[in-house]
Each structure stands twice: as structure tokens, then as C-alpha cells.
Symmetry: C2
Subunit: 767 residues, 2 copies
């Protein structure tokens, strides 16, 4: 209740200061004037940055405003002041407001783009950053770690901003708690739009992290409310809560590949959030629970199909007497009044149990401590298509009490608690994806402190007369929506960039090179039939397609330089269709930049013949492909195939998220056909992902020193079926990882090595 008032106060404050500030406006147009204005600023001042590009600026905004008269730093015209180049912003002092700045085309020279601290003597308190955009302000080198917003001090606010496209190491927003000045902080992260964060291929890609294990005993009291997390796919933890007493209310997690994770720290409140998945993805998760005393209420889960770590509700096993940075036991957690609509096996307990791996892991890594004193009550599970296994258990479920939960199909799970009751339930879709039971249900379970759950998902009052299982109590307002987009982000930035692509027809090598240079992102270059001789690399620095004008008559690109055929830049996304690529054995087909591969790239190859190259794909260590897909193609007479094996820090990172080979033939590849590597014992990434189906491998691997045809060490998800291996002189075709459920499907093996399955893989411990 107190919280609601303080947000209201803030809004009033934001409106009111603008009126007051008119009288003390100081307009500045360069960094020197800005520094002077800041230096002489006093409460009530409004420093106005002139429209235009502010390049290579490091702004230290220090001042002492008051609650009634803050000091404001604002754009002359919202959105027309861009901070570019090697730039950042630090705030220190009290009651400062930063309004409407646009960070793009650059990156920070320090550890943070926006930092609520100038130095240890100048920490920010009661400061606000609002109506700002940070767009792809990402380090050139993905391995360089930074945060876009780093909180220090107390009572600071990040509201109504749009942050999108962080590709490098490090959480987008970080709360720091070292030092008594920074605890009991009551920060507000509210009404922001967190736009897509690309897949990262390794840990440290959280969108918000609140503390770390070293400060996980501190009281934080940060409120994360009314934000949209829009395809935040950076890693398995969208939000990683690592401190105490944090609250997560009324946020929307939209098709984000990860979960809201209570990783360290205790006594979090997760109330009234929406988790939206879709039919196809198993990467989109819900809430993952570790530690003690959390209350998870009034949340709405829709089409969450993730499993284990990514299940709608994942309650983990802990490590007995866990080290500070590992997994504490789950105790005293309440999960009540949530709705799980069309989710797959939404309740998973003892997730992470790894007793079976005692041989390869030290005792301090074995999660054998089951959840204790957990109450799961008054929840609704509704499935359009029956889900026979609503509960998955990875260990005994002896510390969880189920009370008065309702499901609309029979529970055939191994665990069949009396407190999960099958009942016919009728629901209505009131608005998009908003399913509500047609009638309220009485006789609810009343557990300890349950009387404190006074509201439902929409903030309507729960009373003994009017209450219901699940997140929503009837009646629901006529115009109720699950996602109210007006709550999120700035009032000026258009997040819907509609892309229009054109097709450029070419028939000569010169025209191809020119078209590639001049094309806009997402354009299609269409080649007439014939031969294209190229003696330099083709540069791929945007999304582009090169296709045959006629798919039955494939043009041939013949490369004569010893440089790579295609040089791939950050954000290069190359689609090749219906082509023949021919090398002279002195060059690779595809190569990334050696360094500064700041953003992910893609490679989509369909119905292409690739022949006479050294390697087909060679990447650099810091590079990351979201997807490498090869379908209906032929690769032959090359030294090596696809080499995604340069990220060898063994810190959980890897060079590609999705690698797909389907219906493709590899013939006469001298060494390895694919080398796809991930090192380090880490679970914050559940990647990479390899699909290898319906392919044919012949006469390959004879010069491969380890005598393995396909290397996939440490890759977590592997499908390996319906391939044919014939006359490959290797000992082993591949080694699969049994503990991750990998097994060869029906493959045909003739005069080749064998497919080996190793149950437990010994990996370098990261912690």
C-alpha cells in the first residue's frame, strides 16, 4: 500500500517539477557548457541539452535538488538529443532527473552506460532516469562486460524507458549492494519496456540482476513493477534476484526465453505477473525458485511449455549447507492463487536434482536437499488439451503441501496429491489470451498469513464472500486486458520498426558486389542463371538474401581469391538459396571478423552446393551465431566443415545458439564435418542446440586427428537421427551426452565408426 503511494507521489513529482522548472532553464549545446551548468546547478534548475548528436561525452551529473525542486537534465526535444560514440552518464547527489535522452551508435568507455554513482563520495539518492532510450549501445567486443544501467545508493528510479539490443556480456540492469549506503534501497524499476535482448550463447545475459551472491544477505527492497520484458532472450535468467525483500509485480514476460529466477536471497514477492509463451518454444519459462520465504501469488501463465529449469513453476533442489554462491534449499515458500493456462507440466519439483552425477561432481555441487515447508494452494490449472502430467518430480515430493488446487483433466503424474483436484471447469476468453473461470469457487484453503493476500491479478479485492482459485476473481471488468501496452516504455519512441524489403536483380559479378554494398537491410539480391567470378570477399554486414532468380537453374559463384568467400560482420544475416559456391581450395566459404563481433549473425543456407573450400565456416572466439541452418544442400571436397569451436574459455559460453543440418550431404570432407563446442559446468545457459537429421555423410573424416566425424562436446540439446554414414574412416561418428537425454535415433551406419553415448561428461567447474 505504501508502495503504491510512493509511485503515485513520484508521478505527481514528475509532472510538477516540469511546471516549476520553467523558471530556471539553462540551455547548453556542448559538453563544456553542460559541465558548467551542472557545476553551478541548484535545486529547481532545468538543464536543457540542445538537439543534435552529442558524441563521445562522459556526463557526470552531480547536484542536490530537493523533493519539491529537483534538478533536471532534459532533451531540448525529447528523442532529438542523441548520445553517441564512446559515451556514458553518471549521476550523483540527490533529487536529480534525467529525461528523454537517446543512447545509440556507440558504447560506454566504463563499466556502465548509466550509473547511479559518480564515485564513492558522490552516490545518487532519490534520482530518476525516465523517457530515455538505450538502443544497441553495446560493446564492440561481446566478451567485454558492462551494464547499461547500474544502481547504487537508495530510492533511485528507472521509469518509462526503452532498452533494446544488448549483445555483450553483463546484465542490462544491475543493482549493486556493497556498502551500507546501498542497502534498504527501495529502488523503483517501473513501466519500462525491455525490448528484445538477443540470445547470447553463455551466461551473464540477464535483463535485470539484483545483487550478486556476495551481497545476497542484504536487504534490497527493490520494486520491479509494470515492465514489459519483450523477447528478452539473453540467457536462462531474465531477472536474477540475488538479494532480499525484492518485489516483482504486474510485469509482463512476453515470449522471453528464460525465467524470473529467485537465485539468491530470500523473501521475494512475485505477484500479478503475466508469463506468455507460445506453442512452439520450449525455451520460454516462468518462475524458478531457490531459497526461502518467497510468496508467489496472482500470476498468470499462458502457454509456457518449458521443462525443468524453464518450466512454468520450477522449484529447485538445493545443496545441503550450500556454499554462498550455489543453491540453497527451498523452504517456507507459498505458491497461491496462480493461473496456469495451457501450459505443459507447469509444476516441477526438485528441479536440478543431480544425485546421479555424484561421480563427476564434487559433493558441494550435489543438489539433494528437497524443498521443505512449501505450500501450493488455491491455484488453477486449465488445459484446452488435457495435460496428463501437470506435475514433474525429479526427487521425492515430501516437503510440499498441496491444498485446494483445481485442474480440469485427470492428473496421471507420478505425484498425485489430494490437494490437486480434477474438476470440470468452464472458462471464457474475455479478451486476447485472458481466460477466466465462469464461476468463482468457494471453500478456499486458508493457510498461515493467507489473509494478507487481499487482491487478485487485477487488483480487485479478495473477500471471504467473493474469492476464487487462480489469479482472477469474478467479476472482471468489461474491458479488461491481459497486457496493457500503454503502461510500458517511453511516450515518444516507436518500437515497431516496420521493415520493407526490395528485390535487386543482378546478372554480373560487378552488379552483385554493387548491389550488396548498396542494399538496405532485408533486401533480396536475385541472381540470374550463369557464372559469377569473384576475386574478393563479399561483405555481409546486414540482413541480406542472395538467391537464384529461378530455383531450378542454380547460378554458380566461383571464388578465386585466397580471402574468404563471404566475410561476416556483426548483425550480418545471410540467406543463400538455390546457388552453387565453388572455391579453389585456398579459401574458406564463410568467416566472421577476427574481433569486434559485437552482435550476433545468422547463416541460412538452403539448396546450395558448396565445394572445394578449406573450411566451410570459420569463426572468431568472440563471435556468436544465433542460427546456422543448412538444409537440402551439399558440401563436398572441403578440408573441414563448420567450425564453431573457438569459444574455449570454458565459462559456459559457445559460438552458436542453434545449429541445424537437415537433408544435407557431406562428401569427401577431410577432417571434421562439424565442430561445435561448449565448455564449463554451468546451467544458466541451456544451449547450444544441435539438430542433425536426414543427412548423409560419406568418405569423410580421414585426416581428423581425433578420428571423430562430428564433434559436439558440451552442447546440451542434440537431436541426432535418420542420418546415413557410409564409408567414413573414423573411430567414432560422434559422442553423445547421456545425462542430457541425448541418444542416437535411427541412423544408418555402413563402414563408419560408431556413435558413442557417455552418461556423465566431466566439465570444468565454473564456481
Amino acid at each position: 500500500m505504501k508502495r503504491i503511494f510512493s509511485i503515485t507521489n513520484l508521478l505527481v513529482l514528475l509532472i510538477s517539477f516540469q511546471l516549476i522548472a520553467q523558471t530556471n532553464s539553462i540551455k547548453v549545446s556542448n559538453i563544456s557548457d553542460l559541465n558548467n551548468a551542472i557545476k553551478s546547478s541548484k535545486a529547481g534548475d532545468n538543464i536543457i541539452m540542445a538537439n543534435g548528436v552529442w558524441n563521445d561525452v562522459e556526463i557526470k551529473f552531480y547536484g542536490k535538488g530537493t523533493k519539491e525542486n529537483p534538478i533536471t537534465l532534459t532533451a531540448e526535444t525529447i528523442g532529438k538529443v542523441t548520445i553517441e560514440g564512446v559515451s556514458n552518464l553518471k549521476l550523483g547527489g540527490e533529487y536529480l532527473v534525467v529525461n528523454g535522452l537517446y543512447f545509440k551508435n556507440g558504447y560506454t568507455p566504463s563499466k556502465n552506460v548509466i550509473q547511479f554513482k559518480i564515485d564513492s563520495e558522490k552516490i545518487a539518492n532519490h534520482c530518476t532516469v525516465t523517457q530515455c532510450v538505450i538502443e544497441e549501445f553495446t560493446q564492440p567486443d561481446r566478451d567485454v562486460s558492462d551494464h547499461w544501467v547500474e544502481f547504487w545508493g537508495r530510492h533511485n528510479t528507472l521509469s518509462n524507458n526503452y532498452l533494446v539490443g544488448k549483445s555483450n556480456f553483463g546484465p542490462t540492469v544491475m543493482i549493486r549492494l556493497e556498502g551500507n549506503e546501498n542497502i534498504y534501497n527501495y529502488h523503483l524499476i517501473i513501466n519500462n519496456h525491455f525490448g528484445p535482448r538477443p540470445r547470447k550463447g553463455g551466461p551473464h545475459g540477464e535483463t535485470i540482476q539484483l545483487g550478486d551472491s556476495g551481497t545476497s544477505m542484504t536487504p534490497s527492497h527493490t520494486l520491479v513493477a509494470n515492465n514489459l520484458f519483450d523477447q528478452c532472450n539473453g540467457e536462462i535468467e531474465i531477472i536474477s534476484s540475488k538479494s532480499n525483500f525484492n518485489e516483482f509485480r504486474n510485469n509482463v514476460f512476453f515470449e522471453s526465453e528464460g525465467s524470473l529466477v529467485l537465485r539468491h536471497g530470500n523473501y521475494a514477492i512475485i505477484d500479478g505477473n503475466v508469463f506468455i509463451g507460445n506453442d512452439n518454444s520450449t525455451n520460454i519459462g516462468g518462475i524458478r525458485v531457490v531459497n526461502t520465504g518467497h510468496w508467489i501469488t496472482n500470476n498468470y501463465f499462458y502457454k509456457i511449455n518449458g521443462n525443468a529449469f524453464r518450466s512454468a513453476l520450477a522449484v529447485m533442489n538445493g545443496i545441503p549447507k550450500s556454499p554462498l554462491n550455489r543453491y540453497n534449499q527451498v523452504t517456507d515458500v507459498v505458491v497461491a492463487y496462480n493461473s496456469f493456462i495451457d501450459c505443459k507440466s507447469p509444476w516441477q519439483f526438485s528441479v536440478g536434482s543431480n544425485v546421479s552425477q555424484s561421480d563427476v561432481l564434487p559433493a558441494t555441487e550435489i543438489r539433494s536437499a528437497r524443498p521443505e515447508r512449501v505450500v501450493v494452494a488455491n491455484n488453477l490449472i486449465y488445459n484446452e488439451v488435457p495435460d496428463e502430467n501437470p506435475i514433474v518430480n525429479y526427487d521425492k515430493v515430501d516437503g510440499v503441501t498441496f491444498n485446494n488446487n483445481i485442474i480440469n483433466n485427470e492428473n496421471k503424474s507420478e505425484v498425485k496429491p489430494e490437494g490437486l483436484i480434477t474438476e470440470a471447469i468452464s472458462v471464457t476468453e474475455k479478451s486476447i489470451n485472458l481466460f477466466v473461470t465462469n464461476e468463482n469457487r468457494n471453500n478456499l484453503y486458508e493457510g498461515f498469513d493467507f489473509e494478507t493476500i487481499t487482491k487478485d491479478f487485477f487488483g480487485n479485492t479478495r473477500t471471504s464472500n467473493s474469492n476464487n482459485i487462480g489469479a482472477i476473481v469474478n467479476p472482471v471488468k468489461e474491458n479488461a486486458v491481459l497486457i496493457d501496452k500503454t503502461k510500458f516504455g517511453t511516450n515518444w519512441f516507436d518500437t515497431n520498426n516496420v521493415l520493407k524489403s526490395k528485390t535487386i536483380n543482378v546478372s554480373t559479378s560487378e552488379a552483385l558486389i554493387k548491389a550488396l554494398k548498396e542494399a538496405n537491410a532485408h533486401d533480396i539480391i536475385s541472381l540470374k542463371k550463369g557464372t559469377y567470378k569473384l576475386n574478393s570477399s563479399l561483405l555481409i554486414n546486414k540482413p541480406i538474401s542472395i538467391v537464384s532468380a529461378n530455383k531450378n537453374r542454380r547460378p554458380e559463384l566461383i571464388f578465386s581469391s585466397d580471402k574468404t568467400a563471404f566475410e561476416i560482420y556483426p548483425k550480418g544475416s545471410l540467406t543463400l538459396e538455390n546457388l552453387i559456391l565453388t572455391g579453389n581450395k585456398s579459401q574458406n566459404t564463410f568467416t566472421t571478423l577476427d574481433k569486434n563481433m559485437s552482435k550476433a549473425y545468422d547463416l541460412f543456407i538452403n539448396n546450395v552446393e558448396i565445394k572445394n573450400f578449406k573450411s566451410v565456416l570459420e569463426v572468431s572466439k568472440g563471435s556468436f551465431a544465433d542460427t546456422v541452418s543448412v538444409t537440402n544442400s551439399t558440401v563436398k571436397n572441403c578440408e573441414r566443415g563448420f567450425m564453431l569451436n573457438k569459444e574455449t574459455n570454458d565459462g559456459g559460453d559457445y559460438n552458436a545458439e542453434f545449429v541445424v543440418f537437415n537433408n544435407t550431404t557431406f562428401d569427401n570432407i577431410q577432417e571434421v564435418a562439424l565442430d561445435y563446442y561448449r565448455g564449463g559446468y554451468d546451467e544458466s545457459t541451456i544451449g547450444g542446440n544441435l539438430i542433425l537429421k536426414n543427412n548423409t555423410f560419406t568418405n569423410s573424416g580421414k585426416s581428423e586427428k581425433d578420428s571423430i566425424l562430428i564433434k559436439n562436446r558440451g552442447i546440451v540439446n542434440v537431436e541426432f537421427s535418420k542420418n546415413t554414414f557410409k564409408n567414413n574412416p573414423v573411430k567414432r561418428i560422434a559422442i553423445l551426452w547421456g545425462e542430457k537425454g541425448q541418444e542416437p535415433g535411427e541412423n544408418t551406419i555402413i563402414n563408419s565408426g560408431k556413435i558413442e553415448v557417455v552418461q556423465n561428461l566431466e566439465l570444468k567447474l565454473m564456481y
Copy 2:
């Protein structure tokens, strides 16, 4: 401030309910009537237990009182209702008061004497136990663990009680926090007198423990205030705080051998307490700090001479990423405005650093994480006799900031911070042990949140005009005292039992046996010269002395039975002086009971000749001697000497606290002269203690299977000097433990084995 009001409210409540309750008094005189009265009790009832002995009763006091009208269970006459035998008391419900019960001559059949919970459905909230005494209500078997008062629920109070003499396993008072019903408990432990708790010889002898490592992340908010801890010697932790947000205010720790330890959990407040040591003891400690965010202010330390774990202020090193039950790093701790008067090396940092033991300990036991972000400011160190080493450091001191601390002699410690300033200070002893600077000091250090330290030791206001370093601001009230005894304990129990002893003269065996039986505790039996033939054991079940009437003419006691000469019972304390004890080689000289050695015993032997026995001392596993002292005596022609080696659980326990041999001759002992054992790697006990000085050992050890004359494995404190060893056919005289600072002094060794020093001893890990 809020806290002070609630205590006041409570007192008002206690006074007021007695007036109200007059109208609903129900007197009961047996357990059946009591049960009925409880069953039908309602708010405002006063159930009166009739005077007399209530034997073997298990009282379950359940009811629902109200704040204004509690239900009371009270003694007809305070102190005249004794609960004896196998008895206990459980409370459940709301607003209950237990008043004036006296527990003695018995023990609990369950895990607790008084438990604030009947079962998981009937937990106590807002209940009070007051004016009660628990006196030596201790388990017959010391190894059986129990608590005398166990807290569950919320808002319960233990006030104005006297608890004395717990000898067995388990903290006297325990706060339990498992389950959400028991957190945020705001319990009050106030105005109690914790009388002497005997030395225990091993861990688990705390006087108050607040939670355990498994619940150390929970918010407790227990207040421990205005209590007297009077020679609470149970173990190295007088109070063990293992949960969050606990407060320790205005308590007196009087000559208690241990410390107030912030063992697990964070954000404790330790304010306004008194720690009183004495000139002689190095076992009496102050405050030991582990973990994060504690504020230690306004405390007064007087003559604390302990070292390391027992120093006045011990700030520990932590284990990096410590397991839940080990040692977290110290961070963000404030130590301000404390007075250290005549203490020895009061500030010790990185206590417990054990990097040098990496060979014998696993990495998870190595305390290498130094304190960080610790502020030590505005403290006073005053020494009558200069203490050149006020600071002891066991590692680098790089994470501690010293500001404006004053000492009255030169600091010659290795660490010489600028913030510890030498200055002539004049002080006055205002009343006993209360030393106050004659003038206030200005220009105090103002750290983060220091403005919240608004009071001094006496509750006087600190202002910018009137403030001082140390605990006390001038002016001090005329009648101010350091210890106000009227605050502590009951208003009826006399804790000063004055002991009067008499001397009984005897001259025959029969008279000796009769006198021993009939004597009162502390009597002296004086033997005339001559011979006393005894064919049964002498039973020692109280403090008793058997001495010679004439110390130059020693009477001889000749034992002919094969039973032990002296059979020692719990609380037996036997002093023998100027005697000759002669066996027939078929019996031991001293033997404890086989079991139920519920309390400690002592053995003081001076100028006694002991000859022709099997073992001199044989003890049982559960037995514990506070002191075994042998001086100016002779032991000869025995198979074995003193066998204190039966506690072999390797859980840190041992069979005797102090073992002293001085100026004593051992001649012709076939096997070991002393076997004194302690097993297990544990630091909650800093024992046992062996002094072996000025003794002579001859012709001994020849049948000892390990070929060692004196065994002292695992004993922590050993003095070993000025002894003479002659013609003992053993390989080794003894093995000393180098890491604990043990080294042989000047001993004379002739034709005997050698004294070996082993640096690091490999012990069984207990955690």
C-alpha cells in the same frame, strides 16, 4: 524507540492483568484439575496452582486470552509451587502468562523444559513466562540434548526469570525459526538473570542461541535486553546469534567465559552492553563478529583479557563463498562509541585466519576472506597500565577504516592506523568499575548513518554540542552505576546461597563412612593419624574434603575391596589433602558413575601418596570434570595413571576442562601416566587445558602399547615445562600440537623418549 514503548506496555500489561484477573481465579491442586481448568479457560482467567510439589507433570497450557485479558497460570504463593521429577511445560495459543513457577529436582522428558508450542497447530503467540526459576533441571545424562526454554511463534516474552546450572548438551534458551509462523518474531528476552552455567567441555553449551545455520537467512528481530549473564561458562559462545535483525541491548556479561557471538545471520545491533572480566582469566571474552551489517555501539568492556576468539572485539576472517554453516566474510560492520577499559589487546582482526593449515584442512575450511568495509570510529581505549599492542592482526588489515579512536598509550602494534590516536586522557571512576573521561571530546567522526546513534550507554542524548568518544557522554548522573542488579531476575528467589561448612573429626573407618554419608555439602572430614581399612567404595556425591588433622602425619587409607576406592557422583567435588591412599592392585582409586554423570565433578589432590592401584582415575564417556588437580603428590606402582579418554565421539567434547599436575612424582606406572583426549575439528570450545609443570616421571610406560608416556591428543592448551623424565622406556614422552602454540619448556630428559611437536594435527571434521 518503538521497542522501548513495547517493553513499557508489557510492564503495564503485567501489572494490570493481575488486577483484572482477581475476578476469575480458579485454584487447582492436581494435574487433572489443572488440565480441566486449562480446557475450559477463557480470556481473563487466572489459574492458580496450589502450593506444594507438582511431581512428574507435563503441562500443556493452551488458551486464547486477549491483550487486555490474558489467561494466567500462576503459583498460589510465588516460589512455593515447585515442578519436580520428569516434568515440562508447553504453551500454545495467545496472550498466556506463566508466573512464578519453580523447576527443580528433575528434568524434562521431552526436548524442552518450557516450550512456546504445543504442536504445529498450537503455537504460542504473545505469551509470557515471568518470575520463574529453573534450577539445575538438567538431564541425568549430559549427552542428552535439551533446551530449557524454546521459543516458537511470535511476540513471546521471557522476563524476570532466573535460570541456573544447566550441565547437559544444548543451549539454555533457543529461538526456533523454521516455518513462516516463527519468523519476524519480535520475541523479548528481558530482565532475566542467567546464573552460572558450568563449563561443559565441548560445544552446544550456549546460554542463548537464536536460530541455527539452516534458518540463518530468516528475519528474527528478537530483543535480548537488560539481562545479567553471570558466569555463563558453558562454552565459547555465551550468546550465539544465528538469524537476522536481532538486538542485544544493555545486558551485563559478568565474568562469563565466552563471547556474544554474531555467528550466522546479519544486521544485529549490539548496544549499551557491559562486558566484565577480571585480572586472571583469559577465557572471558567480549564480542565476536562474523557476517554483515552489524552495528556495535556504546558497549563498555572492562578487564577483558581474552585472546583471538575470546578477545574483547574479535573480527573474524571468513571462508570465501562459505558453506551455509561455516564462516561468512565480515562486511559493512560499524564499531563506534565503545569504551575499552584495562583490556588486553582488545581489537583483534582476521581472527581465525588459518591459511597456514591448508595442508590439513579442505579448501572449504580455510578462512582467508578478510573483513571488508568495516568502520571503527570514535572508540576509547583506556589503560591504567599501558597496553602496547591494542591491535592484533592475523592477516593484513586492509578492509577496516579507523577514524578518530583515542588511546592513552602509544600503539606499538604491527598495525598503526592514523585513526587510532594516542592522547593523554584523564578518567574518573564514578562508581565501581565505571570509568568516565573527565572531559567530552569534540570533532567526532561522522560516518554514514552515524546520525542514527543518538544515545550513549546510559541513554543520554548525543548531540553535536554534547558528545564524546567511547560509550559515555558527560555529564553522568551522580548515582550512575555500571551494573544495576535490581533489573535482573525474579523478585523472590535468593541467588546468594551463603554456604557454611563444618569440620567433622573422625578416627575410625566406620566414622569416616558415616561422616561421608551425613555430611552437608562443603563440609570437611578431618582424619586423625593412623590407618583406615576400607572394604567398600567411598561415595562422593557432594562437595567434600577429606584431610589430615595434622598435615605432617598423614593418615593412610587402605582399600581391600576390588571395587573402586572413591566412587564419584554428579556434583561430587572431592578434595584430598595430606593422605596416603593404598590399594591392593585390584581396584582403581577414583571412578565416576558409568552413566548419568549429569553434572560436572572435581578432584583436588594435594600432598597425597597414591600407590598400588590399577588406574588412578577411570571415567565414563558422559562424565565431565571441571578440574582435576594433583599437586605435591606421589603416584606409584600403578598400572595406569589418569584416564580422561572416554569421550571419543570426535564432536569436540572431552572429559575434563582443566587438568593440572604440579610438583608431583609418577614412579613405576606400567602404562600411560595421563591420557587426556579431545577429538574433532571444532573451535566452539577452546579446551581442554593441561598444565604439567615441575613433575618427575620415573620407570614408567614400559607396557604402554603406543610407547607414549603422556597422551594429550587434541587438547588445545598445554603447558609442559620443568618436568624431569628419567628411565622411562618409551619412544615418546608426549606429542605437542605446534599450531596451537604448544612447545616443551625446559624439561630434563634422561634415558627416556623424546617430546615431539607436530605442527598441524589432522582431526575429524565436524561440519
